[in-house]
């Protein structure tokens, strides 16, 4: 791998590139899913290849190939350079300086998830399903995954580093239907559970089988529950839904490539402008959001990003004020501060993009869920994402949750179904008036963050505590 990357860099420089990097990647993934007590998916996939990125006359070129031999790599370099020479545009690009990354990084792992047999993974899923199958539940499903990515990056500016990232995750769902209603509860998170960069000890720590009966009982109860009423009220949001809230309304708008418009055609732009840095009030003084590519178990954790910029932790929002953007070397040079550090590609096939790493809402010093609920006279507690939509500038959002509970005089009351809440990003964050403490802070890893054309799915993590917001519109129906 290292040799081929070096050959690609040499060939690109010889062809006239002013900058080039080559990234060779090999991946393996296992996916087990069960539904209704039978195996639905049992797959063991591998993929390998090399992507080479070139700057020629200020224009980018990028080509990728699965052919890991000298001829394949040479052909990829020629295609990348040919395209860059023909690319329309004025092309004046600078890259923020970075010290050449050298060395290696590996995810700390206690138990390699690939050393766990497929039969054990199947048994885990079937056991969780069985435990979720309580009266009133119509369907159950469960899944487990393991993923390993090895990559080597060599650049014309001295980067020469290798990394091995290991992930695993799992989840269980219970579905209930009746009287024209379809309801679902999931643990630990919707849409395939939650993942972490860790060994199988992470999956064991989820204790799916222990949580599954509650998941089933709540799904069954939702079919009989009243609909969440409409109105403007106080909401308390659990840490799982807060992870999604942070992702959509803080993570994406602070990606500096979106601010500069390069995602306009697909994912959209941002309500933020580059000169908002340091002055824009994003939310209430309780709001502190941190980007941290060093978070233990975070899916966005690495030694270096895919431009060779070392991992670091930095403030994005501090005491409610915008303090940072997520950047590449190119966008960092454009704004004149920072050094990148958020560039990641899904795999060898694709060019790196500015992506969230691990983005967290920091907790209060100390507060339990009960503390956050305590002075809510009348409100709604929202739990676990069900639907999500936000506009192209990341301002107008509408999110739905799998379950909700009334809050009456500081305590949780009746279960409610079909809860939806909506808002405008800075006003919503401005209404944040209480946060849970570290004991309510949870880290969730999701593997389906979409961006780019061609589309790329990034793996990112978010940690968040429970949070309380005042004067929020809930219960939107057609």
């Amino acid at each position: 791998m290292r040799k081929l990357c070096g050959e690609a860099v040499d060939a690109a420089l010889a062809a006239g590139a002013s900058y080039t990097d080559a990234r060779a990647v090999s991946e393996r993934s296992q996916h087990v899913s069960t539904k209704e007590g039978r195996v639905e998916t049992l797959s063991d996939a591998e993929s390998e290849g090399l992507g080479v990125r070139v700057l020629v006359g200020g224009a980018w070129g990028f080509a990728s190939t699965r052919r890991l031999d000298a001829a394949g790599v040479q052909a990829a370099v020629e295609r990348a350079v040919s395209f860059a020479r023909a690319a329309p545009g004025s092309h004046s690009r600078a890259l923020a300086p970075v010290e050449g990354a050298t060395g290696s990084y590996r995810t700390p792992v206690e138990r390699d998830p690939f050393s766990v047999g497929l039969d054990d993974k199947i048994a885990l899923c079937l056991g969780a399903e069985e435990a979720a199958r309580v009266p009133g539940v119509k369907f159950t499903s469960a899944s487990a995954r393991a993923f390993r990515q090895r990559k080597h990056l060599v650049s014309s500016e001295g980067a020469d580093c290798e990394q091995e990232l290991v992930e695993c995750g799992a989840g269980v769902d219970a579905l209930a239907a009746g009287d024209g209603l379809f309801q679902q509860r999931s643990y630990p998170s919707a849409f395939g559970g939650s993942s972490a960069q860790a060994g199988w000890e992470y999956v064991e720590s989820l204790e799916l089988e222990r949580e599954a009966p509650r998941v089933g009982e709540e799904a069954a109860a939702l079919v009989r529950a009243p609909e969440c009423p409409s109105g403007v009220t106080t909401v308390v949001i659990d840490s799982e839904q807060m992870a999604l809230q942070v992702h959509e309304s803080v993570g994406h708008p602070t990606e500096l490539d979106r601010v500069y418009g390069t995602e306009a055609a697909y994912a959209g732009t941002s309500f933020l402008a580059a000169d908002d840095l340091g002055s824009l009030r994003y939310g209430s003084p309780l709001m502190n959001v941190t980007s941290d590519a060093t978070t233990a178990r975070g899916l966005g954790t690495f030694g270096w990003d895919d431009e060779g910029v070392p991992a670091r932790r930095e403030a994005i929002v501090a005491e409610g004020v915008l303090r940072g953007f997520l950047t590449s070397r190119e966008t960092a040079a454009q704004i004149g501060s920072g050094a990148g550090g958020s560039m990641r590609a899904e795999t060898w096939k694709f060019m790196p993009l500015v992506r969230m790493t691990n983005l967290h809402l920091e907790p209060a010093e100390a507060a339990t869920l009960e503390d956050v609920l305590a002075d809510v006279e009348d409100g709604i507690y929202l739990s676990t994402n069900r639907s999500w939509s936000i506009d192209d500038k990341r301002l107008n959002f509408q999110f739905g949750t799998q379950a909700a509970w009334e809050i009456k005089r500081g305590r949780l009351g009746r279960l409610l179904r079909d809860a939806v809440y909506t808002g405008i990003t800075p006003q919503f964050w401005g209404s944040l008036d209480a946060l849970g403490g570290p004991e309510t802070w949870r880290l969730y890893g999701l593997t389906n963050c979409g961006k780019g054309q061609p589309g790329q799915s990034a793996h990112v993590s978010h940690g968040a505590p429970v949070a309380r917001f005042r004067d929020v519109q809930v219960g939107v129906r057609p």
Binding site: H31, S43, D44, I390
Partner: protein
């Protein structure tokens, strides 16, 4: 014999007498993505993916690789076999598909297949130049995809398909307009034409106003109706979701649910679309009636869900890639019948007072069983007054019940358009919906968003 079928046969041979099915998906593609009239994200890809599914004594499992040497295929077979050995028996597994002659379809164009990176860049240049003075955001892409299925039951089918598309968002700080074109033949795609359409639309969007929230009559351009239907289809046109009672169609087949002007089918054989001859189990494609003159007729099936449904239900040829199979069979070639309106302007006349929607953004299914979808409009939202398109509006949040939206349809256009729906995640599989413009009596606006522009 094609290269992909050779590779599928080689993978099958590596399985060494097992009951097995090999699927190959090969891709050579180019992507010229641009923003602010400059290419910033080019992507040229060459890849072959080989999936081997092995059945051992009622136990089923698969393995995937993109290494194609004899040693790599032997390793693939070993991994698939080992996985199958660890799986429990699945009494509901219907077995691998029997051989069946796939229909002859169009959809391959040598000129498109041979387009060089420099030519893709040139097409992007033509679009960019035509959009001025607006900046252009979007892409030009073309590719050749080859799919092959070989199985121990005797399936040996392959198809080469090409695609070319242009996506054009013309915008500046206070205006934005959208257009796109797609075809199996690059000669049928006019990048400059799409860019001009986007720029003309953008010029009309300055000064977008907010509106009162509530129900409106509306005209949806083909871009908007295609995206809305796709999110509805994800749950409601899938046999799996019917079995799980998560589909609007569950328990309603045979009911008159929509306006009699609404007829929907999944038709992968339509030469206007991006034709496919067979699915990822090697089952031949054929046209499936979903809605006929407002009456719910059926949904799509793969072999596993058809077997679970019983009552003689057969696969309709809608198995998706193994990695996506937990979503169940999918309708990826939805075709909506045309109407009698000569133009979108005539639809506006029929609407009288309402809104015009060019394109949607970031849809999400709020309630699959009820067919409730939320999202935003963007890049060309206007008020319709006195039967004519009037002042521009801000981007609007909508939350609609798709069945309600289709329950009263004042009209559809005579002309239909192929709207690309592939977002190009994973391995290349071009697909699109063929739809007309549509007028509806019920489009619910639930929020005002940002003004048009960057």
């Amino acid at each position: 014999m094609t290269r992909a079928l050779d590779l599928a046969q080689a993978a099958l041979a590596a399985a060494d007498g097992e009951q097995a099915e090999a699927v190959v998906q090969s891709e050579v593609s180019g992507f010229a993505r641009f923003a602010a009239s400059e290419v910033h994200q080019p992507t040229l890809i060459e890849n072959d993916m080989v999936e081997l599914r092995v059945v051992r004594d009622g136990r089923v499992a698969g393995a995937v690789t993109n290494r194609t040497s004899a040693e790599a295929l032997a390793e693939l077979a070993r991994r698939a076999r080992e996985a199958a050995e660890r799986a429990p028996r699945d009494p509901s597994f219907p077995g691998l598909a029997p051989p069946s002659e796939p229909p002859a379809v169009e959809g391959y164009d040598e000129r498109t297949a041979s387009l060089a990176p420099e030519e893709q860049a040139q097409l992007a240049r033509e679009a960019i130049d035509a959009a001025r003075p607006f900046g252009l955001f979007g892409y030009v892409t073309s590719g050749v995809t080859e799919i092959a299925v070989a199985s121990s039951t005797g399936i040996a089918v392959s198809q080469r398909l090409t695609d070319a598309s242009v996506l054009a968002l013309a915008a500046d700080d206070t205006a934005s307009g959208y257009a796109e074109q797609a075809s199996a033949r690059v000669a049928d795609v006019n990048p400059a034409g799409a860019a001009r359409e986007a720029a003309e639309k953008a010029a009309q969007t300055r000064g977008g106003q907010e509106i009162e929230l509530g129900r409106y009559r509306a005209v949806l351009e083909p871009y908007a109706i295609a995206e809305l239907l796709e999110y509805f289809a994800l749950h409601s046109f899938s046999g799996l979701r019917v079995l799980e009672e998560a589909s609007y169609f569950a328990g309603r087949i045979g009911e008159r649910a929509f306006d009699s002007k609404v007829s929907l089918a999944d038709d992968a054989l339509d030469p206007v679309g991006l034709p496919k001859a067979f699915d990822f189990e090697g089952v031949p494609k054929h046209r499936v009636e979903l809605v006929t003159e407002g009456v719910l007729r059926g949904v799509v099936w793969d072999r596993a869900t058809a077997a679970r449904a019983g009552d003689g239900t057969q696969s309709t040829g809608h198995a998706v890639r193994a990695e996506d199979r937990s979503w169940g069979p999918q309708a990826l070639a939805v075709s909506m019948a045309a109407g009698d309106a000569k133009s979108l302007e005539e639809l506006a006349e029929r609407v009288g007072d309402g809104i015009h929607v060019t394109r949607l953004h970031y849809l999400s299914v709020v309630s699959p069983r009820e067919g409730i979808v939320t999202g935003m409009t963007r890049d060309g939202t206007f008020r319709i007054r006195d039967g004519r398109r009037a002042e521009p509006l801000v981007n609007l949040r909508f939350t609609v019940s798709v069945p309600e939206l289709l329950a009263e349809v004042p009209g559809l256009t005579r002309e239909r358009k192929l709207v690309n729906r592939a977002q190009w995640y994973g391995d290349r599989y071009p697909y699109g919906y063929v739809v007309p413009g549509l007028a509806t009596a019920c489009f619910t606006v639930t929020g005002n968003g940002s003004a048009p522009g960057l």
